[in-house]
Amino acid sequence: MSDVYVIGTDMIRFGRFPEKKVEDIGAEAALMALDDAGLGIRDMQALYCGNLFQANGMVGQRILQEIGQTGIPVVNCANACATGATAFRDAWMSIKAGIYDLVLAVGVEQMGRGLLGGTGAGKGIPKEGLLGSGTMPAVFAEAGMEHSRKYGTTFEQFAKVSVKNHHHSTMNPKAMYQKETPLEEVMNAEMISYPNTKLMCSVNVDGAAAAVLASERKARELGWKRAVRIRASVLTSDPWQERDLVMPDVNTCTRMAAKQAYEMAGVGPQDINLVELHDCFATAEILHYENLGLCKDGEAGQMIDSGATALGGKVPVNVSGGLLSKGHPLGATGIANIYEVSTHLRGEAGTRQVQGAKLGMTHVIGLGSACAIHILEKVG
């Protein structure tokens, strides 16, 4: 079976755009990706659209109503924080299956502000703050605590993730924030849910990203100098774990997905030059170093201490600034990751360029749970 390629991709600068509609920013990203590919909407044979908060609102069709109603099939998908990556993967599958040659994938979200999660009222009385917390900062604090329990990982080590990712974002003009945050500032910021301070929580922003995917035949025909090869595309859900009724397990589904992705690509973690992983909270990034095999179990604390995951290190992680600083518009995040890694593989990432990048990985986790991993490769 022939490979599938990304031949155009872009994202809008993440921010807050209350005056715009979700289809406005989705359309903006779609046109940017089409321009990047040198193609138009008339060339697209299908649209896969990822959006979570208006999952029943036909967002993909509304985007086409803004940029061109060609009558192509549109699939709207929602999969928590893996929404964008799932849309991208469905687009990949449709070409892999030989159905289409050129497909557009768009991820878009308008977030508003404030806490996500919470133990829903259901029937009876509200449970938040009565039966513990279902807020996302607390859920991921508890996931981080599990790592502390096993390996002694410290508050300071978790905080260092934010220092690094905020530093990276100063080199990314598309990030929501572009501001250095020294360690003391991160640790002394308002405590949201110990050990996650405010600067260790991802930013709720509006955002959109898009990608044009092509079959090998089409990519070659169009001249594939800037094309990026999709070496692996994997989606998993959470297998049974003894605590998962009360403690969402972000580890096992990531480990399963990573193993499958490395096998599909025929590479190992040592071959990966950069990673965009799901740092929805600083605690989460530490877990995923081990889940993705970037270091051995128990060595993630040491890995952040050593600088190995900073730009210039052995395997830079979240050089875009990550969800912590670039921002996390849920449905857009998965495709924004594809844009970031593709930009490095094309050698077009400017001051944050990971030198000599040939293979990159993207990873997202949607609680509930869904994990998507892609491995992308520079062509030529």
Binding site: G132, S133, T135, A141, W240, R243, L245
Partner: protein
């Protein structure tokens, strides 16, 4: 004379027998031993159907992990300690850890805790019903 209204259970797996102590109820798979909260027809671990048996969960366990919540939704008092507790003999439950200073220096992962049953922080539903909830507190 009307009988005083009995409190309702905060969740389905909290059982309040008419003449006995409240307890948490699990459903255990007879085939693989997996313990679930709340009734169900099929075991999601080993996929066996119709073999789940009601079981009374222990009131003793150990603190697996926690977070100290300082920021939450409006109207909820902070801070509180959100705790995940492994019960003796199986079953993991999440709830508030009480009678402990909300300070990471004072909360030890793995420490023994007990399940206690008390009023649900005064919260009432639209009909004015009171609720009985469960909490964890440090045990010796």
């Amino acid at each position: 004379m009307a009988e005083p209204k009995r409190p309702l259970p905060v969740v389905d797996f909290l059982k309040i027998p008419p003449d006995g102590e409240p307890y948490l109820e699990g459903h255990k798979c007879k085939k693989c031993g997996a313990v679930f909260l709340g009734a169900r027809a099929t075991c999601s671990k080993c996929f066996t159907r119709g073999e789940l048996q009601s079981t009374r969960l222990s009131n003793r366990g150990t603190l697996y992990v926690y977070s100290i919540v300082h920021r939450t939704f409006p109207g909820i008092e902070v801070p509180y300690v959100s705790a995940v507790v492994d019960l003796e003999g199986g079953g993991t439950v999440k709830g508030n850890l009480i009678d402990v200073e909300p300070n990471p220096e004072k909360i030890k992962l793995g420490m023994p805790v007990e399940v206690v049953f008390k009023d649900a922080l005064g919260r009432k539903d639209k009909e004015g019903n009171s609720y009985l909830s469960y909490f964890f507190r440090p045990a010796s």
